[in-house]
């Protein structure tokens, strides 16, 4: 009975059974003597998991105790012990009980875990799982044999020194194993990384390739700032590479042999065989020296177990490694990289810049611009002939060639690596085999395995384990694309570029050339120049040409003569047609349409009825091979912008502001690059959907709500500062929690080219936005003067703001609810004043303001002041407004700018009122007096106030005093009660612990007593815990509450009462279920009482109540010693 006794009975089946099988000697193959030894060791090993020092191999700790043992030193003892433990494990794994699982269940093959500390499930259970599912379990940590460290919690010291603790191995939560088992496959450990390392939102390791310019697009494993799976990944890569090259060298048979060996050992052997290669080749592989000092035991064991390995002289691996060096892109780079790049908006200050540097989509997007510049002249020619062609119309026989480079992104990268030509290769920015990076392109051998663009790397690796991932090489892409188009333009004047690797040629005019010969000529030339194969389709329309290419691929060409069109289309599935996506396909399927021939049976009218005019028309004509498009020049962009939807995580307002600035810079550069100016600016935000979990794709945006806002300014611009101001403003209008943002995009539309806008109006936007500069001061002044009088000025003065305002009035419920701080601007009761853009006013130089103020008779300053105050302290302002109400009681009520509030705080009587017929000014006036911000009213000059009040119906006025206008329904009512109820002290009948945060928190916050405030603040600080307990609040209070404080007697009495009431209610709440918490609270209270008179009094008041409660429920007294 030396083994653990796991449970008294019952539920942990696996453990118990495991024990049984351990104990039965018949099932254990080892001799009895070794068995007893093993047992002895096993007990020590258990102790080890209970907390003996980390790293059993450290010699110093227990060397002395082994002097008399049969082992020469500790090291040999440990190695012997480890060997025995392994044997034991293998024996168990091979017993019937665990061996039943078929090979498909060996999901942990190659995984070897070490369990550190306390875990749920226990290390014993985990061991059982590893036994059952083909993994290994290490009792002692060893960098050689362990692949994953499993633990639920790490002490600070280990976190701080993670590198030396984990030795670069992934530190994973045990749920990884459980989830893998339930998923019946090995899941990526990345999402299961220990929380302490990842934080709530993953941000540590990053996946995409570091863009060091010297080594372009090096394949990155996920070994970044955090030393995570470095070793593991390297090893896998090595194994892969080694396998690959060995297969090349020694032929199929050899590889076959390897496949037969057990997965675990395969890994060991390859690694072992790599070692000499590495040591012989140190300069190329920057592997840590730690990896080189494999000591002998395991090697010997492996060798004896697998004699086949020793047959191979290390030289063979040397050769393979040297080969690696020649194609420096791939394998050596894999081992060499240790990136320090960080990949989220959180950590990388240059995130935006780097993001676009490594974005393929960005490359494709900007390529167009490059193309237009390069072939500007030739497309001009196209334009003229194009119009001519249109005029001539259809009678002429048309012929189009669609030409497309085969798997462009892959073939460009591997064109110089002949040995990779026949291997499955895919392009992706990350080579982490378990990562969620998306494959952007795969070559044909890879496609044969089912690898497709858009797939996660880990899924692709599942489909095709030998898949080689190569990084982007944007420079090479540009070069190839340029060559490609050079060739096209050489052969044909009418070229429509679709993308960097795809184009249409209109060869209708070239009567003397057979399109087929032309196509093959072009293909040949493309291949000779760029080394990449192209496919061409020839057809009578662009559609047919494109469809033909589909058949032609890869590296071929196909001609669909016009008489064969129907035949070709007949069996074509509908989703092959351009414009038919998944949704449309499903819709068509519901109509029982799956092929083009079926589609052709449907009349145009019914298609248009079912799918809409345009789509119906498109389907009708496409199914007949008709396509009225003609080859045009590259389309002008309708909008220019930049979106970032990956790696977007913000902590605070500063983060997002910085990010917006960078984004604006990027957009501005793009505008300038296209020589365009824009007038409409749209900010798009992806906001995490409320219940969305962390996305499957690492750092992806996941399930999001898409929000967007736009502003149109009168004069087009590409100025960075203007963009930044606008985007900041737009962002402000969203009122979002920055932590929820998963993606941000800025689009500029209503584009004008730079030249045309130069000729344009002289009333520049610059004057509107750069009012800060002294030069334009004059202009602003004059314009501001206009504001006073004419109403048409509003268009330019506050162009964007009034626009927002106008749209608001239309959809008032949505925006007014969100735009608090702008509220003064929107409800425009006094046109000139309210139409002023407060932000503009605020930014004006003080002299200008003073001048404007005179025009307004002193109203302006008040408004600005008010606005500033409001932003700062909400709760204060509510108190202020309370006073206002009181004064409003006696004095004639006043009104200033009106603020519409969203909350439906109109209680019963008021609802009746607001439903009464309103006067003509209703659209401008607030619906009820409750919506009037009294504090604003206060600020207005007498005459204005009187005017406004006159506009309000009389009965509204008389209701006004009682209907205290407040800013936030619940909280702001508190001060009222406190104020009113001063004579009856407090709020006894309410339950202070209801709500989240509990009611008392708000009450205490507004209390005048310093301790109460303090406690309330404490709660807010602790609110990170889901609902902080009172005991934890008190615990913090001990450190923060000073003893010296003594408040006025009046205050004290009320505060004392409130705290006692709080405690009493807490006792009632907890007495049944959690006397531990009560006990803790009162122990803490007692400690507080020693320091502070206030708490001593509280303690004395509440104690009897407590004891009575305890007595009632437990028949005793609480022992607060």
């Amino acid at each position: 009975m030396l083994y653990c006794w796991t449970r008294f009975s019952g539920s942990a089946d696996s453990c118990l059974k495991m024990k049984r099988s351990l104990g039965s000697k018949s099932s254990n193959n080892s001799s009895s003597s070794s068995n007893t030894k093993a047992k002895k060791k096993k007990t020590t090993s258990n102790q080890k998991t209970l907390g003996v020092a980390w790293g059993a191999a450290s010699l110093s700790s227990s060397r002395s105790s082994f002097r008399s043992s049969p082992f020469s030193d500790f090291g040999s003892y440990m190695s012997e012990k480890n060997r025995k433990l392994h044997n034991q494990f293998d024996a168990e794994a091979s017993t019937d009980f665990y061996g039943v699982s078929g090979s498909e269940n060996l999901i942990f093959q190659g995984v070897s875990i070490f369990v550190d500390g306390f875990t749920v499930p226990s290390s014993q259970e985990l061991r059982g799982y590893m036994l059952k599912y083909g993994g290994r379990f290490e009792n002692y940590f060893s960098r050689r044999s362990v692949t994953h460290i499993i633990c639920s919690n790490l002490p600070d010291s280990k976190i701080k020194n993670l590198r030396s603790f984990s030795r670069g191995l992934p530190v994973v939560k045990p749920t990884w194993i459980l989830d893998s088992i339930s998923a019946k496959r090995l899941l990526s450990w990345v999402p299961y990384q220990l929380d302490q390392l990842t934080d709530a939102q993953p941000k540590l390791s990053a996946f995409f390739a570091p863009k060091s310019h010297s080594v372009p697009e090096v394949v990155s494993t996920d070994m970044t700032c955090q030393p995570t799976s470095r070793f593991c990944d390297i090893r896998m890569n090595e194994a892969e590479v080694a396998n690959l090259f060995r297969a090349a060298k020694f032929g199929e048979g050899r590889e076959h042999e390897n496949d037969e060996t057990d997965g675990v050992y395969l890994e060991i052997t390859t690694r072992e065989r790599m070692d000499p290669a590495i040591s012989g080749d140190r300069k190329s592989s920057e592997l840590n020296s730690e990896e080189l000092d494999y000591c002998g035991i395991e090697e010997k064991e492996v060798n004896s177990d697998f004699p086949s390995c020793s047959e191979h002289p290390p030289a063979s691996t040397n050769i393979s490694f040297c080969e690696n060096d020649t194609n420096d892109d791939i394998s050596t780079a894999t081992t060499a990289v240790c990136s320090k790049r960080r990949h989220s908006t959180l950590e990388d200050p240059n995130f935006v810049e780097n993001y676009f540097k490594s974005s393929r989509l960005h490359f494709i997007g900007t390529w167009r611009k490059r193309y237009r510049k390069r072939f500007h002249g030739s497309s001009d020619g196209l334009k003229s002939t194009d119009s001519g062609h249109n005029a001539v119309g259809s009678p002429k026989k048309t012929a189009f060639i669609h030409i497309d480079l085969d798997c462009f992104f892959v073939s460009v990268v591997i064109k110089n690596c002949p040995e990779l030509q026949d291997k499955p290769v895919a392009v992706c920015h990350s080579d982490n085999p378990k990562g969620t990076a998306e494959i952007s392109s795969a070559n044909y051998p890879a496609r044969a395995y089912g690898v497709k663009a858009g797939m996660f790397v880990r899924n692709a690796k599942d489909l095709c384990p030998q898949l080689i991932i190569v990084p982007y090489n944007f420079e090479a892409y540009e070069e190839v694309a340029d060559h490609f188009y050079d060739i096209l333009h050489k052969h044909c004047r009418k070229v429509q570029a679709i993308s960097c690797d795809e184009a249409f040629l209109d060869v209708s005019d070239l009567d003397d050339v057979d399109p087929e010969i032309l196509a093959s000529m072009i293909r040949k030339e493309v291949f000779e120049t760029t080394g990449c194969s192209a496919s061409a389709g020839i057809g009578s329309t662009m559609l047919m040409a494109r469809l033909a290419t589909r058949t032609a691929k890869p590296a071929g060409q196909f001609h669909i003569p016009s008489d064969k069109v129907d035949e070709y289309l007949d069996q074509l599935p509908v989703d092959v047609l351009p414009g038919v996506g998944y949704v449309l396909k499903e819709k068509l399927k519901k109509h029982n349409i799956q092929t083009c021939s079926q589609l052709r049976l449907v009349s145009k009218d019914s298609l248009q009825k079912d799918f809409g005019m345009k789509t119906g028309e498109m389907l009708w004509s496409y199914s007949r091979g008709l396509d009225h498009r003609s080859v045009r020049t590259v389309q002008e962009n309708k909008s220019i912008g930049a979106d970032v939807n990956w790696g977007v995580r913000f902590r605070n307002q500063q983060d997002i502001q910085h990010f917006l600035q960078c984004l604006c810079k990027e957009v501005s550069l793009r505008l300038q690059g296209c020589e365009m100016l824009g007038r409409t600016f749209t900010l798009k935000i992806k906001k995490r959907r409320k219940d969305a979990a962390e996305p499957a794709k690492y750092m992806g945006c996941g399930d999001c709500d898409n929000l967007s806002r736009s502003i149109t300014v009168p004069v087009a611009t590409d100025d960075v500062e203007v963009l930044q101001r606008i985007s900041k403003k737009l962002f402000g209008s969203f009122f979002l929690d920055v932590k929820e943002i998963r993606g941000v995009g800025l689009q500029v539309s209503k584009l004008e080219s730079v030249d045309s806008s130069k000729r344009g109006s002289t009333r520049t936007l610059e004057s509107y936005l750069s009012f800060v500069s002294a030069q334009t001061e004059q202009r602003v002044n004059s314009r501001a003067a206009k504001v006073g009088g004419s109403s048409d000025c509003e268009r330019h003065v506050t162009a964007d703001d009034t626009r927002v305002g106008e749209s608001d009035r239309a959809e008032s419920s949505i925006q007014t609810s969100e735009i608090h701080s702008f509220s003064e601007n929107q409800a425009s009761s006094v046109p000139p004043l309210c139409h002023l853009d407060m932000e503009v006013l605020e930014s004006l130089p003080s002299e200008v303001v003073a001048e404007l103020d005179q025009t307004y008779g002193g109203k302006l300053v008040g408004l600005i002041e008010k606005r500033r105050g409001k932003g700062k302290t909400k709760s204060n302002s509510s108190l202020v407004s309370l006073d206002d109400v009181k004064s409003a009681n006696s004095l004639p009520s006043k009104m200033c700018s009106l603020s519409t509030h969203e909350e439906e705080e109109c209680e019963e009587p008021r609802q009746g009122i607001s439903s009464e017929p309103t006067i003509e000014m209703a659209d401008l006036m607030p619906l009820s007096f409750s919506q009037v911000d009294i504090s604003v009213l206060q600020e207005l000059p007498e005459d204005l106030r009187a005017g406004l009040l006159g506009a309000l119906p009389a009965h509204r006025k008389q209701h006004s005093p009682s209907d205290t206008p407040t800013m936030e329904t619940e909280h702001d009512k508190e001060p009222v009660e406190v104020g009113e109820a001063q004579n009856e002290i407090g709020f006894s009948d309410k339950n202070l612990w209801i709500g989240n945060p509990p009611i008392w928190v708000e009450k205490f916050k507004v209390s005048s007593h310093h301790i109460l405030k303090n406690v309330s603040e404490m709660y807010c600080k602790l609110v990170v815990q889901s609902r902080p307990k009172l005991s934890s609040i008190l615990q913090h209070a001990i450190f923060s509450i000073s003893s010296s404080y003594d408040s006025s007697a009046n205050d004290l009495e009320e505060a004392l009462y409130n705290v006692c009431e709080l405690l009493r209610q807490y006792i009632k709440l907890k007495i049944e279920g959690d006397i531990e918490e009560i006990y803790l609270c009162f122990r803490l209270l007692k400690r507080l009482a020693l320091r502070c008179q206030f708490f001593l009094q509280v303690y004395e008041i509440v104690s009897p109540f407590l004891q009575a409660c305890i007595g009632e429920n437990y028949g005793g007294n609480l022992n607060i010693s």
Binding site: S9, S11, A12, D1074, L1118
Partner: protein, 201 residues
């Protein structure tokens, strides 16, 4: 969730009682160890719910604890048990210390086995830390497990009930001093573990 437990999820209330009885057995063992009634060699380290606990090695002691706690099963299932006490007496048979498990079961709720285990484990962890609160035992002490039922069980209603006899344990004159050790206030099970000492005055 561990796979083995997912299957148990259905039989919630029975499962809860079973787990509770198991837990009590371990907890009582731990308390007896903690009090040092027997030399520590009489116990061995074991793992239960993934924490280290002590279990009696002596078969009779083990059997006593086991029978005492497992005998509670039918009563717990019927929700009759209000408190389970481990009482230590001095040689005059006057109780000097009582460990009370006060339990309330809400059978209507689903039992989340893992959650329950997690909560119960904290009791086993907290228990050893109550040592400073304990009184040193006099010589010739004895101890017993007593259950307080909400109502008297029907005599002979089941065989299990026979192991239990009505007790004539002496009560303290004055209300005792209560020192809470650990509380669990969750939905199927509400469990308080506290110490009772005779009030000093």
């Amino acid at each position: 969730m561990p796979m083995s437990r997912n299957d148990d999820h259905q039989s919630s209330s029975g499962e809860l009682a079973q787990t509770l009885v198991e837990f009590l057995e371990v907890a009582v063992s731990s308390i007896v160890f903690l009090k040092g009634v027997y030399p520590s060699e009489a116990f061995e380290r074991q793992r239960y719910m993934n924490v280290v606990v002590q279990r009696a090695r002596h078969p009779e002691l083990r059997d006593y604890i086991h029978s005492a706690t497992s005998g509670l099963l039918p009563f717990i299932q019927k929700d009759l048990v209000e408190r389970v006490a481990v009482i230590f007496f001095n040689k005059d048979n006057i109780p000097i210390e009582r460990f009370i498990f006060k339990l309330t079961i809400n059978p209507s709720h689903e039992t989340d086995a893992a959650q329950l285990e997690f909560s119960l484990r904290s009791f086993l962890i907290k228990l050893p830390f109550s040592k400073p609160l304990l009184k040193t035992l006099p010589l010739d002490c004895r101890w017993e497990v007593t259950a307080y039922l909400r109502s008297l069980p029907e005599v002979g209603s089941s065989k299990d009930a026979e192991t239990w006899i009505p007790t004539d344990t002496k009560q303290w004159q004055k209300p005792p001093l209560i020192t809470p050790i650990k509380s669990l206030d969750s939905d199927p099970l509400c469990l308080q573990l506290y110490l009772e000492h005779p009030s000093s005055s």
